[in-house]
């Protein structure tokens, strides 16, 4: 078992235009990316649950070339609109940090 904060190199959020938020998790090398991918935990269902959005509203992409997973979700309110808390969307990543990834032992090192 491993928390994302302990095994990822980058975990970040940012606007993707005024009405969407995009969240990236990047791993240091392809091997760790593949081990995480094999667990199936990082997927649209996880983001839907963590951010309280419909799973059909999660645009999820695996990006092997960057050792990365990306999820794009609707913003709770448009950037800078009444009641917004984060105009740049730059501090919405924290719920991911404590997600536990049930990594299998790395058998072939």
């Amino acid at each position: 078992m491993a928390l994302i904060r302990d095994i990822a190199q980058v975990c970040k959020s940012k606007n993707a235009g005024p009405f969407e938020l995009t969240i990236d998790v990047v791993f240091e090398d392809r091997a760790m990316f593949e081990r995480v991918r094999a667990t199936g935990v990082l997927g649209p269902q996880l983001f839907a649950r963590l951010y309280g959005v419909d799973v059909n509203d999660v645009l999820f992409t695996e990006f092997p070339a960057g050792h990365a997973f990306k999820a794009t979700i609707p913003r709770a309110v448009g950037s800078g609109d009444v009641g917004d808390t984060d105009v740049y969307g730059a501090q919405q990543h924290a719920p991911l940090l404590d997600v536990d990834i049930p990594l299998a032992e790395a058998v072939a090192k």
């Binding site: 009405f19 990236d24 794009t72 009444v82």
Partner: protein
């Protein structure tokens, strides 16, 4: 620099991720030594929020933009290469374009520079957008708000995001310096490379890097990036020797502010990076190949912002554990008292919005905060009132401030005041509130009709 100069390649230089961010002069000089065919910078973003498009104000200061422009203008004219600046002033509406054009004219006067200037406008008049909406050529992008005629009427400014074609036309018509309104960020670079005979896929992909300056390098910083387009690939390299591009740093750049890391919708086509390869060709330069360009029906994006209301805010904090333990109930009491006292001032609840952001509880994530209990020994409260007049906003905010300070709650021991206010006066009047109202695409009759070009001899 490891880049070799060949005749079949096209070299593009970007100074930074945004006009006015600044860059080291030596980075520009190093980039110029590689004999780029053009120099450019992106000037805009929706990222700082709707205020800038709505108000016509610039994101970066005039002083900072002038510093960057002077260095770029002198370099471009000395090297006899074009200077292209996209999304001028932050949002690219007519007032933004006018501010940047005025700075350029001022530099030209001060430094006795002469050139043919093109201004490409992107502001859209409301009647034309209504005609396009009625004709059914306007479609919402994912998660766009609803759009009807009243949305168009309420807009403070509406811009359309140009593709590469208006840039190409301005170059064909002899412009040496091009200042554009809202543009697809990579478009000025893509236009130059495609015009020189390079393929669309690597030309657009080059633009995706150049629009962010040296962001794709590590360490990330506001600095210059040189990108070479050649045949089926590009080579990216930061000109500052302290910054290196690696396969991973460049691959991960495609994550930045994009909904997808591989599929980029541009006017007239889709840039697909699904099969991109990122190969180091030196210890600081990366070759990228495998990108594809799929032509699509021509669409351009619309952006708009509207005025929401006048604002007043106050900031305060509590260190009282009894209050912190019942913060939600306390704020409900404050809200109710404000409503009653506002009614006595002939202000009804539908005339204002009162918003509390509670830092230490969920001030950053709001309703999406997964931590439900308050774990902090102190809480910061930002109270905001938005109303249709400044007079009402300020009056209601004053009531909110007084009630935050004095409303009673069960178990209260410190009756002198519930909140610590750091400032006198404690009430602040920020700039008004705006919101973005469009994230739509429109199918124009051709790539030029929405972007008139004005030529000026400077």
């Amino acid at each position: 620099m490891t880049t070799t100069i060949a005749t079949d390649e096209f070299r593009l230089l970007s100074t930074s991720g945004l006009l006015g961010y600044g860059f080291p002069e030596v980075s520009l000089a190093t980039g110029l030594a590689a004999k780029p065919h053009m120099i450019g910078v992106d000037g805009g973003s929706t990222d700082p929020g709707p205020y800038y498009l709505g108000s016509g104000k610039t994101v970066n200061s005039r002083r900072a933009m002038k510093r960057d422009l002077r260095l770029m203008l002198r370099s471009a004219l000395e090297q006899k290469i074009p200077l292209l600046v996209g999304s001028c002033g932050g949002s690219g509406s007519d007032p933004h374009l006018a501010i940047v054009a005025e700075i350029v004219r001022e530099i030209a006067r001060e430094d006795s520079l002469h050139f043919r200037l093109a201004l490409i406008h992107s502001e859209q008049d409301k009647a034309s957008v209504k005609r396009r909406l009625a004709a059914g050529t306007v479609k919402p992008l994912r998660n766009a708000p609803p759009l009807d005629e009243s949305t168009i009427d309420r807009a403070a400014h509406i811009t359309a995001m140009m593709g590469s074609e208006p840039w190409t036309r301005a170059l064909d018509e002899g412009a040496q310096v091009i200042l554009a309104g809202r543009s697809s960020d990579p478009a000025p670079w893509a236009a130059c490379a495609i015009r020189a005979g390079q393929a669309p896929a690597p030309s657009w992909y080059a633009g995706k890097f150049l629009e962010c300056g040296a962001t794709a390098a590590t360490p990330k910083g506001h600095d210059c990036l040189l990108t070479t387009v050649s045949g089926d690939h590009i080579v990216v390299e930061a000109t500052n020797p302290i910054r290196i591009c690696t396969p991973l740093s460049t691959a991960n750049h495609s994550l930045h502010e994009n909904a997808s890391p591989t599929i980029f919708v541009e006017p007239g086509g889709i840039l697909d990076g699904t099969n991109c390869r990122f190969d180091a060709i030196s210890d600081r330069a990366v070759k990228i190949s495998g990108m594809e360009w799929r032509p699509m029906p021509y669409t351009v994006k619309l952006e708009a912002a509207e005025f929401v209301g006048y604002r007043a805010i106050t900031i305060c904090g509590t260190r009282d554990p009894m209050l912190i333990g019942q913060i939600d109930g306390f704020l409900d009491s404050v809200r109710k008292n404000v409503e009653d006292k506002s009614a006595a001032l002939d202000v009804s609840p539908d005339q204002y919005r009162l918003i509390f952001r509670v830092y230490g509880r969920n001030g950053v994530m709001g309703p999406r905060e997964p931590v439900r209990e308050v774990r902090s020994h102190e809480l910061g409260i930002l109270a905001e009132v938005i109303a249709e007049t400044q007079e009402i906003a300020s009056a209601v905010l004053a009531l909110a401030r007084v009630n935050l300070l004095h409303v009673d709650f069960p178990g209260r021991m410190c009756r002198e005041g519930n909140m610590a206010f750091p400032f006198s006066p404690s009430d602040v009047i920020p700039e008004p509130s705006y919101r973005f109202t469009m994230s739509h695409v429109v199918a124009p009759n051709d790539p030029y009709e929405m972007f008139p070009i004005e030529y000026v001899s400077v």
